[in-house]
């Protein structure tokens, strides 16, 4: 289904975490029709026939497979938040379920909402006060800025490269066709379809592969941003290696931007973590090392979760105190490593340090020590001891909602997937045109659609690309 021009939009409107319930919201003229395609209620009741502002119990299904048990709330325009027909699907939280429901709605004709789009519609449909106009503008621009950043920066380097390659091929072939059409007496493209079909078939395969990576959430660096910190030789790297043990899924390995930070994406009990191993933190005059340390501080600031590794066989020192200060107010797990050796540092010492850090902190910026957000575990990374406890603690924190990640990333992934799908469909149309013996100029229409869809993933527009490609690669007459 060609969803590109659909005016019905959908988004996840609760934070994507494993806690509580999740709400997927859809608004626009086809909202009820789309909902009816996936909603199974009692006695086959149709949502479109129901009264506004009512709640309906049922299931969301796709091709006979149940996704979740849900409550669906209906609001007919203009009496809804956006002023348009709106459907809210309340489901059982859970990252997988919420995402799946959103994807299903998109499959049946909705498109992923642009950042701030619900608010924009509410305003444009007169559902918001005039005085809120400026705020609406701010929401749109800030959310877009965030989405733009996350969509481009979260896109994996290797994926980006692949998409760029596919786009390059598409534009090249389109430019060739267009040059020939523009200058038919110089260039002939009779029979070009056969050649193009081989290319398109290959590109379809590549996009299919991208879609499958997308399915497993690997197209963007989706997950909880986790930073491992500690003094040099505290055992950070061993911890990482322990977490990356053979039985676990290593999703990718991306070299960090500095030589001192390594980034890994791992999946622990269904929870996806982006783990960054940082340089050991200590006061140093070495310039290169200092850069690594500054970078580590920076990463702590941005992290969703911190794993602080302490060498329990050495006494705490100034450098540790520095780190305690840095992690104040952040969700963190403190790991007393080297439990296989004689312990010098105990849990009490750590709590003590935390309290001290909190006090000195309070006077500066009032951040308070939140006992709930910090856990302490004894481990031996070397012997894999305590790793299970760590996993359990991570799980608990996640399911209790103590750690979560921004749902914008999820939306980004859904948007990317939609765009890949659109590109796939467009290329299929190219093949159809070739097989139907349509004239060559029809190919370029769908080729350019595919080019545009893929560009929306990497944040690029068409602009003058085609004309530039024509002029730079092909010799025009006259």
């Amino acid at each position: 289904m060609d969803t590109r021009y659909s005016e019905t939009i959908a988004a996840i409107s609760t934070a994507v975490s494993s806690s509580g319930i999740g709400i997927v919201r859809m608004t626009g003229e086809d909202a009820f029709e789309i909902a009816d395609q996936v909603y199974i209620g009692k006695k086959h009741k149709k949502l479109i026939n129901q009264k506004s502002h009512t709640i309906h119990y049922g299931y969301i299904e796709d091709e006979g497979k149940t996704i979740d048990e849900v409550l669906v709330m209906l609001m007919k325009g203009p009496h809804s938040y956006t002023g348009e027909d709106t459907v809210e699907i309340n489901c059982h939280g859970g990252v997988y379920v919420v995402k799946k429901i959103l994807e299903t709605l998109i499959k049946y004709g909705a498109r992923p909402a642009e950042p701030g789009e619900f608010t924009k519609r509410a305003y444009l449909n007169g559902r918001m006060d005039l005085s809120q106009a400026e705020a609406v503008g701010d929401i749109i621009s800030s959310q877009n800025e965030y989405a733009r950043q996350s969509s481009v920066s979260q896109l994996k380097g290797s994926i980006r490269k692949k998409i760029d390659e596919i786009r390059k091929e598409i534009i090249h072939h389109t430019a060739f066709i267009e040059t020939a059409l523009d200058d038919p007496e110089h260039i002939s493209i009779d029979g070009y379809g056969d050649e193009l079909k081989t290319v398109v078939d290959r590109l379809l395969g590549e996009i299919e592969y991208l879609l499958s990576t997308c399915e497993s959430g690997r197209i963007i660096k989706e997950g909880i941003n986790t930073v491992i910190v500690g003094k040099p030789n505290a055992g950070k790297s061993s911890l990482l290696n322990a977490l990356l043990g053979e039985e676990r899924a290593i999703v990718t390995d991306i070299a960090g931007t500095t030589r001192d930070i390594l980034e890994e994406n791992i999946n622990l009990q269904g929870i996806s973590l982006n783990i960054m191993d940082t340089a050991g933190i200590r006061n140093t005059d070495d310039v290169v090392e200092k850069i690594g340390v500054d970078k580590a501080r920076d990463n702590i600031e941005k992290a969703d979760l911190i794993l602080y590794v302490i060498d329990s066989s050495c006494p705490l020192d100034e450098n540790d105190r520095e780190i305690f200060h840095m992690i104040m107010g952040k969700k963190s797990i403190i790991l007393l490593n080297k439990s296989d050796l004689q312990a010098v540092v105990r849990e009490e010492d750590v709590l003590n340090e935390l309290n001290l850090a909190e006090k000195s902190r309070e006077s500066i910026d009032c951040k308070t020590f939140d006992g709930k957000s910090t856990g302490i575990i004894e481990i031996s990374a070397k012997n894999q001891y305590g790793i299970n406890d760590l996993e359990e603690m991570l799980k608990t924190m996640f399911f209790e909602g103590n750690i979560s990640f921004n749902n914008e990333i999820y939306i980004t992934n859904v948007r990317h997937k939609t765009a890949l799908n659109d590109a796939y469909q467009s290329l299929c149309k190219v093949n159809e045109s070739i097989m139907m013996n349509m004239p060559e100029d029809f190919y370029s229409i769908d080729l350019m659609d595919a080019y545009e869809s893929l560009g929306s993933i990497t944040g690029e527009t068409i602009g003058e690309d085609l004309v530039n490609e024509i002029f730079s690669k092909f010799c025009m007459g006259k």
């Binding site: 701030g116 038919p184 007496e185």
Partner: protein
Amino acid sequence: MKYSANSVWVNNDKYDVVVIGAGHAGCEAALASARLGFKTIIFTVSVDSVALMPCNPNIGGSSKGHLVREIDALGGEMGKVIDRTFIQSKMLNKSKGPAVHSLRAQADKALYSRTMRQVLEDEKNIEIKQTEVVKLLVEDNKIVGVQILSGAIYHCQAVILCTGTYLKARCIYGEVSTNTGPNGLQAANYLTDSLRELGIKMYRFKTGTPARIDRNTVDFSKMEEQFGDERVMPFSFATNPEDVQIDQVSCWLTYTNEQTHNIIKRNLDRSPLFSGMIEGTGPRYCPSIEDKVVKFADKERHQVFIEPEGLETNEMYIGGMSSSLPEDVQYKMYRTVPGLENVRIVRNAYAIEYDCIDARQLKPSLEFKNIDGLFSGGQFNGSSGYEEAAAQGLIAGINAARKIKNLPPFLLDRSEAYIGVLIDDLVTKESHEPYRMMTSRAEYRLLLRQDNADQRLSKKGYELGLISKERYERLELKEKLINEEIERLKHVTVGTGDAVQELLKECGSTPLNSGSTMVDLIRRPELSYELLKSIDIHRPAFPVELEEEVIEQVNIAIKYDGYIKRQKKQVEQFKKLENKKIPKNIDYDKIKSLRIEAQQKLKEYQPISIGQASRISGVSPADISVLLVYLEEMTRTE
């Protein structure tokens, strides 16, 4: 050069519109404003050079043919004149889809020029005067008249600048440089300074043309003959197709070779382009032969078309080999080409530099944003090509007239016409080279076909007052016949009888398993409306003069129905943004959520609609959303 005259007199004859330049833009501009009822004076540096074709001797070609038909559908003149003066005609891309079929005709240049001049002379509201305009007279940001070389002042209500390549023109080949316009004609050296004084931003562009050679020195036996179409299609919807079935002349195809390329490479240091003597920006789509040899070094040969310049001259044009190399190198390189071994050059190839404007200073109506009543069109706006020029001239002429009448401007958008794409690109996108029309620039090209230009635009031409009632009624009848016939075909079913299967077999089409509608059969690539005639017994008879056109439209509408519907859907989306107009008094500084870059760009461009704003580079979709919210606030406050 700054103009100063001692004696100034005012010509008190009354003029409404002044057109500066009588090239392809100027002629259409003057004709449009005159036909819309305004006294129009057209100034030219040479009355003998009205509608001159200083470069290639043809009209039309890919996408340019579309422009000519659109001009015609709106009541312009170019199509009619070429129909009367062509000497060969071809429909290009015939084996491709209907969207890229393009008509191209070789013109008898001298006859074309004389014929167009006659059209101007026959128009009662037009007066032609040979002189150079030296200054624009502007009061309170409103045009009030012009001053000519003699010092005389002409008052008027609107001015249309169509100066082509004449402003501070300089022609160059090798070390030779002359301050002349094309064909050695006098350049216009004063006007640029007057424009600059008015705050208009100027560019300097460059283009070039190949040599003209003497037919008697060409050995055609070494070339491939290129014929015109057997059945010629006229450009103008008003021309009777029977009138264009003439005896045509041939063009000739030959090629450059390694020897040619060696001569060029050895002499590159003597090219003014490479030595830096030329400062203007040249077009990438129309490279000189030296450009091609350098840029596409791996190509062993380039095509060369030898085209007649007219029936009453021996001069021929060397298509594909424009150059600015020195004269001796030109002789050497042309003489390496098979068939040109003994060629004599009548006019040397040359490059030409000229002043033009950054067209982003214009509104889509082609009126200057900052000067009321000042319009411009053609190469002066940074475009290239006769057809692009004529299209803009027509729109500028129409809008000058509407301005005087106090009517809203006549605008075409990107979904309505190539003319819309052309003007939108010119006024919205930054360009560093002369702009050329291409079918790939039109995103809705399946809808903007040359065959349906009349259906798209003639109603507008009629409403403007440039298309006769008779012609409009003919169009209405044509549309009625097309629609009725398609409707009928949808309901005609054919069975699996012998006659049907036999016919399908004959046409190389799969036989039917069960009944089918006529529409489904026509849709098959190997079949067509005409081919199925024998099994469609109740087919109506169409009026002879419309038959060809109706059948063509029926075929296209049925065969490409799916694609056409898709583009129509896209157009609907496009129109939504195009129809959201931005009020003139908008203050972008007040919109706090806009990014600074977007704010600056919007202030600079002053787009007329959200659609236009969205095409400005540097304005993001988020900025557009912010803008929409702000516009809503403005309307609610009012």
